[in-house]
């Protein structure tokens, strides 16, 4: 009998029964966010670090999520290793966690990672004691370098952030999975549940998504779909798919057909 504990996801020193990681941004309102995150079954929720609005206070996203989830701050929006490092340090101070989703982007149009700054930041963050989960390109060489630096996972994009284009280079993802011992988590590009299932069928250890749920017409229902997509894909991967063939192979017995 399948038990989630028997197939848990371990990142660094923490174990999770859910393989879906989810963002907290762009929901229609806080209640929909909370309901969708709950429906997703996710245990890890990402947040950003932003300047305090000097004009107004109010509760933070942490006041809503604290205690129920493992919070993963990100360095989203940073263009340099220097800014990413300071953001990570600020996150560590504000949230009392040494976990960081490292993002260093190269431009606003593609939001593609800047590999040079990413590797520099990852090396320094590991040195400073962070648990580093880098958002990176689906490039086996960059992923291998990030793993060698001591990152706790690699998180290659399926396609550009927010594009909903799914996984554009599944062959690279399979190579990345095969070449590294640390968890491989698809981060970015997921559009719908079948994308999440496909990521898991490729052997990925988890899926991180945000706008596919928060910007869906019904975020709570899509969160449910993603949960099942990830679980279905994971089961399929572990079950082992049948080989692809060019010709049909009947599943009903060939013997005893009437009229023969």
């Amino acid at each position: 009998m399948y038990s989630p504990l028997e197939d848990a996801l371990t990142i660094a020193d923490k174990t999770f029964t859910s393989r879906l990681l989810i963002g907290s941004a762009q929901y229609p309102n806080n209640q929909v966010m909370l309901d969708a995150i709950a429906a997703s079954g996710s245990q890890i929720v990402t947040v950003a670090i932003r300047r305090v609005d000097l004009a107004g206070g109010g509760e933070t996203v942490l006041d809503l999520l604290e205690g129920d989830y493992h919070i993963l701050p990100n360095t989203a929006g940073c263009f340099t290793a220097k800014d990413a490092l300071l953001t990570a340090e600020l996150a560590r101070e504000a949230l009392e966690t040494n976990w960081i989703k490292l993002e260093v982007i190269g431009d606003r149009e593609t939001l593609y990672p800047d590999a040079e700054h990413l590797l520099t930041a990852a090396a320094e963050m590991v040195r400073r004691g962070f648990i580093v989960l880098p958002y990176c390109t689906d490039d086996p060489i960059t992923c291998r370098k990030l793993a060698d630096l001591g990152c706790a996972a690699v998180m290659p994009l399926g396609s550009p952030i927010g594009s909903g284009m799914g996984i554009l280079n599944p062959y690279n993802i399979e190579i990345i999975r095969a070449e590294n011992d640390i968890p491989v988590i698809i981060d970015a590009g997921i559009g719908t549940a079948s994308d999440a299932a496909f990521a898991m069928e490729l052997g990925c250890d988890g899926v991180l998504l945000a706008s596919a749920v928060s910007r869906a017409h019904d975020p709570v229902r899509m969160a449910t779909a993603m949960r099942h997509g990830v679980e279905g894909g994971r089961h399929a991967f572990r079950a082992g798919r049948i080989p692809r063939k060019r010709h049909a192979e009947a599943s009903s017995p060939q013997k005893g057909v009437i009229g023969t």
Binding site: S24, T46, V47, A48, I49, V61, L62, L90
Partner: protein
């Protein structure tokens, strides 16, 4: 009066410590999930009441926000 930058905005404030600065900006220094960096270095919360704000300081005050 110190001429400083707070979250990218130039300001002239008469404050001695980071604690004073937060109060001057209507941020409760006891508020949770707030972090402060001065000139690119995080000032731990425990030092806010003694870390002196200097003329020309570049100060970042942050907290968590929804993110992906």
């Amino acid at each position: 009066m110190s001429k400083i930058r707070i979250n990218g905005e130039k300001k002239s404030l008469s404050v001695a410590t980071v604690d004073d600065l937060l109060r001057a900006e209507a941020i409760d220094p006891a508020a949770r999930f707030v972090a402060v960096a001065v000139n690119g270095v995080v000032i731990p919360r425990g030092h806010w009441n003694r870390h002196q704000v200097q003329d020309g300081d570049d100060i970042e005050i942050v907290r968590p926000a929804p993110g992906g």
